[in-house]
Symmetry: none
Subunit: 216 residues, 2 copies
DNA sequence: TTCAATTTGGGGAAATTTCCGTATTGAAAC
DNA sequence: GTTTCAATACGGAAATTTCCCCAAATTGAA
């Protein structure tokens, strides 16, 4: 039997070390690479494909975990994605699912749970907790595909920019981080505010928190 | 030389495993316990005291990391606290410091950084990044109150103005509503930001929500 | 392959916020 | 009674955000 080969994407060294340590001395799976952001991930993918990408949803840099998931699935449809989430991020569940994630795992998982998730995902099955599964089922049963999550209102880029504003960044800072012009950031913000019917930064911050785009 | 003995408090197994793995095969420090929340921590402390408690600020359950820090320092003044924070949690810096934290470390730290922080804290020195340090210094240089906790640093008027900003009002609007000059509003805001160690409106909004000054 | 949406960027000016200060009043505290 | 603090307010300049326009490149879907 082949070992399951995966790449881990997470911006925290401690988390990477945690997963790495969970892997030592066991036969089922092997971590063949680590990336601290999406760019690094794509560099790694060019060199060789893993079976699975284990990805943090919340990441710094230009791409969110969701958007990164979407792109990986587009460029490398065979690679499975297992999302690794923190506490307050259950709301990424639906977007992650829609972006093509095959599983969703909390960072509080045990080694066995982690391995079980890897295995299921590897064999083409989905891995979601019972709770998450029913949320997804419910979501689609109620035909709520469009109007529920911010993901449908805002584009990924807009979400990214909303988050940046909610975290206290200025136009210039956001522009630098995303490597685009401040004018573009301005345009995005204008569009966001219009779409959401907001008229000031404070409203935007509250919206972002309410919809789990940013943390409190 | 004695090993530095610490207890880790974090709600994510992966993080705990990460720290644990950083500890293997090295002589300086030893993790003598792990807790997934504040209650568990206090149970551990009753059985025996570590030199240091390494604590996540963001935790589920009744006690936040800040409040837990306060209680630990109150019950066991000799135990040092090293705060371990995620990405977007710089807002906890001043409160953590006031609650009695001796250091503040990002989860993206390397093993060496972590050990260095432990050592400094163990020997009674503070450990803060340069950036964090200057924020704290600035805060106290400009007359931040040492004795107060975050909830009570603000005067009635300042709370009122904080709320108004969090609700999306501009200087002019606030001035009108309170029948004072916009310049006064400006002065108040400046004082508020200084007291709380914040640097932008988004931070202020989040602070207001977090402390129930404004609603989400 | 066309068409709409997304993402990107700009000019120019107005409005707003921010950063230096300083300063007066009244009330409470010492 | 003097000091401290909260609340009030101003000037001037710099920085930032906002608003009005516009438009190209890219992408995705029909």
């Amino acid at each position: 039997m082949q070992k399951i080969r995966f790449i881990l994407v997470d911006d925290h060294r401690v988390v990477r070390a945690g997963i790495r340590s969970m892997m030592v001395g066991q036969q089922m799976a092997e971590m063949i690479g680590e990336a601290y952001n999406a760019d690094k991930l794509f560099t790694l993918l060019e060199k060789g494909l893993p079976d699975i990408v284990v990805m943090d949803i919340r990441m710094p840099g230009s791409l969110s975990g969701i958007e990164a998931t979407r792109r990986v699935k587009k460029q490398y449809p065979k690679v499975k994605i297992l999302i690794l989430s923190g506490d307050t991020t259950q709301d990424y569940l639906i977007p992650a699912f829609q972006a093509g994630a095959t599983g969703f795992l909390n960072k509080d998982c045990s080694r066995d749970t982690f391995l079980e998730a890897l295995q299921k995902v590897y064999y083409g099955q989905n891995y979601f907790s019972d709770e998450d599964s029913s949320r997804i089922f419910q979501y689609f049963q109620q035909g709520g595909n469009e109007h529920d999550t911010y993901a449908s209102v805002l584009t990924e880029r807009e979400v990214e920019i909303t988050r940046a504003f909610a975290e206290g960044n200025s136009y210039k800072e956001i522009a630098d981080k995303l490597s685009i012009s401040p004018r573009t950031v301005e345009t995005h913000k204008k569009n966001i505010m219009q779409k959401l019917g907001l008229d000031n930064l404070a409203d935007l911050v509250r919206y972002a928190i309410k919809h789990n785009i940013a943390d409190l």
